[in-house]
Symmetry: C2
Subunit: 344 residues, 2 copies
Amino acid sequence: MKGINPDFQRPGGPSLPNSVADWMNAIQKQGISGLSRALSLLENKKPELRKMAMQVLQASMPFAGKSQRIAITGIPGAGKSTFIEAIGSYFASKNYRIAILAIDPSSRRSGGSILGDKTRMENLSKLPNVFIRPSASDGTLGGVASHTREAIYLCEAAGYNLILIETVGVGQSEVEVHSMADALVLLTIPGAGDELQGIKRGIMEMADCIVVNKSEPPNQERAFQAARDLKNALHVFPPHPYGLDVQVKMASAQTGMGIVECADYILELIAQAKSQGTFEKRRIEQTQYWLKEALNQTVMQGIMNSKQASEHWKELNLKVEKGELNPFVAAQLFWEEVQGKFKQ
Amino acid sequence: MKGINPDFQRPGGPSLPNSVADWMNAIQKQGISGLSRALSLLENKKPELRKMAMQVLQASMPFAGKSQRIAITGIPGAGKSTFIEAIGSYFASKNYRIAILAIDPSSRRSGGSILGDKTRMENLSKLPNVFIRPSASDGTLGGVASHTREAIYLCEAAGYNLILIETVGVGQSEVEVHSMADALVLLTIPGAGDELQGIKRGIMEMADCIVVNKSEPPNQERAFQAARDLKNALHVFPPHPYGLDVQVKMASAQTGMGIVECADYILELIAQAKSQGTFEKRRIEQTQYWLKEALNQTVMQGIMNSKQASEHWKELNLKVEKGELNPFVAAQLFWEEVQGKFKQ
């Protein structure tokens, strides 16, 4: 299921829109199925479809940027899906139009997935103002996150005004998810000592809000202890880059305890950032981050699309691994070869 | 002074070595002045000198990798230079050959510099087995750190077996310095609350050892408090990626208190990592990091060396900043243009 939209060129199904205007119409007028097909378009690698995807992305710009983007991260087992179901249901009751996206860089390797099993968000997925999209299946470095970033633009063009991005706090994804959210929520569980094992170092300091989930009985004591430890730890952390007062909340997605407080607090954080001007500043810095990422990825993929170039790079890589070749020299040799080949 | 070696092509001075063998001879036989000139060669942008630099780097490979590399980071005012002078003098007394390098990405902007004023390490700079090199002046993104990484290879080829890398814990430098050291020491000062202001979030979790410097009277109480807070904070941190037990030490570079303990502890950390196999693992991961960095930097700089390309990119940038153009579309447009130009 992951990353594959059954509506996209299904045999006997409707044919693909074949102009930018038709795609925009699908996104803005045909509900979930139109948006789903457009997100699959983004993930398609065929050059002509990729070209169309870029045009659709560009056409979405006037409608983009108007949502609130909230990222939720935490190790497997922290209860991310249940938490998103709980908090998402509350947001839905406040009449937000909610799109839920996932970044799971490990999904290719482990076969595991976030949001892969939509039934885990059974109630949420039935609501008319909620759109749930599993993680893209592009396994290239940075590919999944880039697709998610692109997907945000289309969801916004489709009228969704609250984007929830779910990610596993492992691998490189934390910087990337931090670079696409207005607020990053770190989900932990009672008994932080062992349970934080899977979280990558560094992510705790990026969080705008920390939630101790699963604080329901019989975990109250341990949850309280975990929250106190986290609060103490935050004391010695450097101040938040955008001046937020990072708080630790206790909640239980299972019983609903603390969910409304968490949800309201997250919205309040974003509202605060807006009134202080840091919201806009953060968005600008994020755009700069993605511009640089997009440039690197596009150019490198463009170059490595040449079989000759990618095989040459593999050879150089091997020599570096063996300690025979200096990494900087390898890069220089590669560039000289690529440059020469282009010029022929 | 910064980054400019007065011995490099000084009018009336000795002429430049003009073969790889001569350069290697200069590095390995001509002491500090030979190494200094080779490091300046690395920083020179002239294509023919850059080419020679790459050959020298490659020729250094058989002699590289055999040192212990220790990075020291902390905000301005944490006492990095004094700490390095103290710890370096101790290492020197143990007959290490010590090279001290600096990464200061802000030096171009602020005019401030680390190690810019060698007199701050007056005693150390007089020792025959100590080499001190100020921060390179290359202002390009990642340029200074790359040069430092390259410099490590040459220092090792010159026979230095303990490399101290000084950096300011701001900007992007922490990931880069973390990617070139066997041990990263974070220097803090008593009264962590306010004084940690300048440290970038994330760096605390990368440290292999945290030192509360300036713990001499009358700061003992506050130092003790800071150390206790830091220890408590470490409790809720995820485990160290290489399984180290991160410790907090109190020291005073000014009085010498705790310096020997710090120095011995850092060496012990590295020895532990060696016996557990994580030393080699970390080095391999670092090489992979730098290989990727070198590839990106070399290719991007190669492309942007074309005035036409860099001006086109600036135009696209402006449109993205104004919100008129999607970042991913900008990257695609740029690549199409560059690719076309190459093929002409």
